[in-house]
Symmetry: C2
Subunit: 372 residues, 2 copies
Amino acid sequence: MTTPRLTPLAASLPADVPFVGPETMEREAGRPFRARLGANESAFGPSPRAIEAMARAASEMWKYSDATSHDLRHALADRMQAEPDQIVVGGGIDGLLGTLVRLTVAEGDAVVTSDGAYPTFNYHVTGYGGELHKVPFRNDREDLPALLARAAETGAKLVYLSNPDNPMGSWHDAQTIEAALDDIPDGTLLVLDEAYVEFAPEGTAPRIDPEDPRVLRFRTFSKAFGMAGARVGYASGARALIKSFDKVRDHFGMTRPAQAAALAALGDGGWLTEVKNRVETAKTRISEIAAANGLVALPSATNFVTVDCGADGDFARAVLGELVARGIFVRMPGRPPQDRCIRITAGLTEELDALEEALPKALAAARVRQTG
Amino acid sequence: MTTPRLTPLAASLPADVPFVGPETMEREAGRPFRARLGANESAFGPSPRAIEAMARAASEMWKYSDATSHDLRHALADRMQAEPDQIVVGGGIDGLLGTLVRLTVAEGDAVVTSDGAYPTFNYHVTGYGGELHKVPFRNDREDLPALLARAAETGAKLVYLSNPDNPMGSWHDAQTIEAALDDIPDGTLLVLDEAYVEFAPEGTAPRIDPEDPRVLRFRTFSKAFGMAGARVGYASGARALIKSFDKVRDHFGMTRPAQAAALAALGDGGWLTEVKNRVETAKTRISEIAAANGLVALPSATNFVTVDCGADGDFARAVLGELVARGIFVRMPGRPPQDRCIRITAGLTEELDALEEALPKALAAARVRQTG
């Protein structure tokens, strides 16, 4: 009896996870977190209409979903000022990024991203055997000219840009991105991840003709719409590229209740406004808590605040560890010099109360660790 | 401006879908089906406990799912007499098959299946560049000795067997499969798709040590549990193979409400018994309707009945077309000689009433077409 023969590529991959989930951490700690501020989820929840739509759809879960997400796709086309055949719906941006990488990246193909940008994108690229080329952040922002220059140098299939970006919360305005489009090298696709764009100031989302073959933009119901656990994302781009997703995607892979919930959520603009207001209030509070502890909160166009802990990565990791030990789930950037920061999601008042209580203790303990 | 450069493999693939969904057919027809009997869904629905669990979980959909499906995986381990690390949960059998093929099949690798067996498995194999070798059904059953012989000849990475099988509804007993295990060629993995096993007679599911590296078995909540639109499947097998799924799977890809619903469904054995009884009643009725029209219903260990239309594939396709035109959604086997049949899912009484009314007309119209 031998074990199944993995492909050489699969055999070479580690059985890593891009992120350890909070439930796993809670099981390991033997108790629940007091504050769930680590995954940029929306603790303010989805629209009541989305909750109701999912509850109503629950009794219909015996039916496979509509494989074309017809109604949702049409509603999203309106939202994106695109045509329905310029939209593909999938299992969150994560799922759609995986499909895109599969379609475009063969073993050895070059892909460009920022050093410290979204790990799940990197996970997909590595998983399909692509070669990642990483460009440093510049002033805590993704360095678009350098990304495009590296793409030209390496003949990259894809170049990844999140705007606003995770994990720093920084952003480029629409004009900057629009002006850069002509610098995208021939044959490179700009992967524009706009997961957080609903939180950004007016004038952040670039105007791009959906049929422009140089860009594929990704959006999600996971953040502002408060539906991370329902797995609904979408990509908008040129018809030929959108159609190519049909070559390999899991056609019946969406859940039917999530399709219903997303459609209902789209119709509740009032809730989106309410969430954005609550997020702004929470972000202000996080900044005040940071300042009260002598730390600097970076400007953010997202639903999280990245807080500069004022020293190096080892210190920030110690602060993070001490917060987690006190029941405060937060995460942090992985690469220097951004790893001097921790990243705190806009949460509920009681969660921020817990943060306020824990942060000075965590800082003190981290300082003891450092000098100890 | 050039279009993005797909990989040579992706460029070679058609933008086909394994199945056209009933919603698409309804939109094209401009009216809903009277009877939804084509996708082997369970019109009897999920357990009321599953519905309630999903409705309750709806307000928690803002949280990403537990990436390890810990609670569900532990419950499934009990059910499968396996350990939790011998189980992986994924987005239905479709999703899990895709991940398995990705892990094991590189371009040009041989894979063996039956000619006319599950198209979505073939879709994944082709999608990763595998070479499909197809073995004919024998007496309307998958021909296990011939499948294993072909696997040996071709050095296949995977050999696919559904038991009970789709689309014929036939099955092998446990002993037959257990006895064949030693004939699995070295380095070949038996992909045992047991999507319908809950409907099969006692003694159909083989006893296989979960740690046996020659077999990976797949089960689902889509059929007997009535949760096709919730996308929950699982695979059980050797730890090393199960662990390898972590190399590439979409870790946070499950929806949280579906995890909750599946866990609740597992706890409601009474509902499963009720559904099985209703399915048996519906299958008997379908067989009677077939007999009343001079057609022969094949024995079935699933939630559908495959009905021999008594002539060739062209005639069965005509019957199917005439049924669909009359609002009866059914499907049929794709390859001769099994394509002499149509496949009818066990449905609600009113759906079978509609079938009873439509079938004689469809047969008459198909006969006119044939002689016309």
